[in-house]
Amino acid sequence: MKIEPILKQNVKPIWCDGCGLYILESALAQVFTEQGYNQKNTVIVSGIGCSARISGYFGCDGIHTTHGRAIPVAEAIKIVRPELNIIVISGDGDLLGIGLNHLLHSSRRDSNITVICNRNEIYGMTGGQTASTTPKGAKTSTAPIGTYDNPVDTKPYIVGNEKHYYARTSITDLNHLKNAVTGGLNWNGFSYIEVISICPTNRGKMMGFANPAQMLMATKNLTQEGNKLYQLEIDYNDNIKTQ
């Protein structure tokens, strides 16, 4: 498959070797190409962090906003230019920490954008501090004996809206990932896709993995163990009762 046109050729991502974002980026490039997305019909918006750098790597207009504020910018662009495909791609620190408020409200307003969240359970760019998604008990650079709090579960927030598109998918299952994203892009309304991902450098080292491959395998196992935060699923409803 030819994926060059949608990815810039003169850029080397800032990501570490073995980062889950490489897999996400190439999967998204494949889906965008299949969907016919290009410079004239697509805008990618992101916040701040490793994941958020992705808006500069695709061959369409990219907007790298302030920390947590990708969704308000994206929603406004869609209002003004409804003919464009507006996609938010950012990390969990950005979308589910500092910017969670906007996810709740934009999904409630059913703004017609797609939000893709790279959930690697850590603040990677700043060196491995606890995120709102870090599992309870996990050691981080700000929780030396383990975190005290439960991680955020986004599903109830999104499916709490009667009309919704919610997908939880993983970089360890490429077909599921591509299906989840394709479904979200073609959804008429707000769609949210959470991608379980890995940060071998700042989370993997605290978990004791020797290399990214080990972490990838462990993550694959997690998605198959039945833990509700790691279950791969696509949950949607557009069967809205008319009043």
Partner: protein
């Protein structure tokens, strides 16, 4: 003629300037601006598409108008001090993106929640140094309903010229004062704009960039320092080149922007610098004591009218800045003009009392 408030005049001005996107969060004393836009403008039969979004907070509002502007809209928001604080990060982003936006800040007594319905002038410095890093913003400050209309039009024009955020300061007094003015109605403005569209005489967009997804190659709008559409975060030369170009654009427009009123009734020995709601009281004080005071009223606070002030300074024994804060604008003028400018802080807790202000002036001028 119509009898309207300052807040309504702002909406008429914005509409006349071509605004078509408003996002905001309610806050006294600016809320009527959003209400007029959502009640009277959005619902009216307009010849072009108008948009409105009531956001979940002011952080969302500022980013919403930035996104809309990037997409090609002429966008604005209105708020008051507490919301203006929340918008500061976004204002720096708009400066960096070179995105034209207009922010209206109707000031009330602070800090914090303060006295929400009462008038004050405590946000002067926040317009300049509220965001982080090093940036510039142009600030307009009308003192009447008619002027609120005129300066709003100018503010939108300026936002395009400097490709960045422009701030209109109001205060609870100017926002809520009701005056009988000769301004076009909403219908007049719609039909004017429709004529311009039909005859193709609409003013062309002066902004630096094409709207999103209309250029021939992909672009990267980032808060990061960039070079050739790519992040360049460790190259001092790239930063210096960018910031020099950015500040030059403001420098080029500075001369045209300076705007002030000099109100004089005789050979007064004291020059009082005042603006906004408070300045309205000065006319009466000067009329009753023509040889005591002249009024110098900047309509544009930043860039400051330094040269103009310097050229008339030697006519006066004393120069004072009378403002409803602890001397914010006096500090700015003193620094830029190096003149001996004295400050008369006049925060009367939200009220404007002509007797009290007259006494305050007398006390300061007689003791000097």
């Amino acid at each position: 003629m119509q009898v309207i408030t300052g807040n309504k005049a702002v909406i008429l001005g914005a509409l006349r300037a071509g605004a078509n996107y408003y996002a905001g969060y309610p806050i006294t004393p600016s809320s009527e601006i959003m209400e007029y836009w959502s009640n009277e403008i959005i619902t009216a039969k307009s010849p072009y598409k108008l948009n409105f979004l009531q956001t979940e907070d002011e952080i969302s509002a500022i980013h919403s108008i930035i996104g809309a502007s990037l997409a090609g809209a002429t966008s604005f928001t209105a708020t008051s001090g507490p919301g203006f604080s929340l918008m500061q990060e976004g204002i720096g982003l708009a400066f960096t993106y070179q995105t034209p936006i207009v922010i209206i800040d109707s000031q009330r007594v602070g800090p914090s929640t303060g006295m929400p319905t009462l008038t004050a002038q405590g946000d002067i410095m926040q317009t300049q140094y509220g965001s982080h890093g090093d940036y510039k913003s142009v600030v307009f400050y009308p003192n009447s309903v008619k002027e609120a209309y005129e300066l709003t039009i100018k503010a939108f024009d300026t936002a395009q010229k400097v490709s960045g955020p422009v701030i209109i300061l109001l205060d609870a007094f100017v926002s809520h004062i009701v005056e009988n003015v000769d301004l076009p109605t909403v219908e007049d403005i719609f039909s004017d704009i429709k004529n311009e569209i039909d005859s193709n005489t609409q003013e062309k967009d002066k902004r630096k960039y094409l709207p999103l997804a209309q250029d021939n190659h992909s672009r990267y709008f980032s808060g990061l320092t960039t070079k050739d559409n790519l992040p360049e975060t460790k190259d001092p030369e790239a930063y210096k080149k960018w910031i020099t170009e950015r500040l030059d654009l403001y420098k080029q427009n500075e001369k045209d922007l300076v705007d002030f009123e000099l109100y004089s009734r005789g050979n007064a020995e004291n020059l009082i610098i005042a603006f906004g709601g408070l300045s309205r009281l000065l006319y009466e004080i000067i009329d009753s004591e023509p040889t005591m005071y002249d009024l110098f009223r900047p309509k544009v606070l930043f860039p400051t009218p330094s040269e103009q002030l310097k050229s008339i300074a030697n006519r006066y024994k004393n120069i004072f800045v009378l403002e409803q804060n602890q001397g914010q604008y006096a500090n700015a003028l003193r620094a830029e003009t190096l003149l001996e400018i004295k400050s008369i802080p006049c925060n009367l807790g939200g009220y404007l009392d002509i007797q009290e202000i007259g006494d305050l002036l007398n006390k300061n001028t007689i003791s000097k």
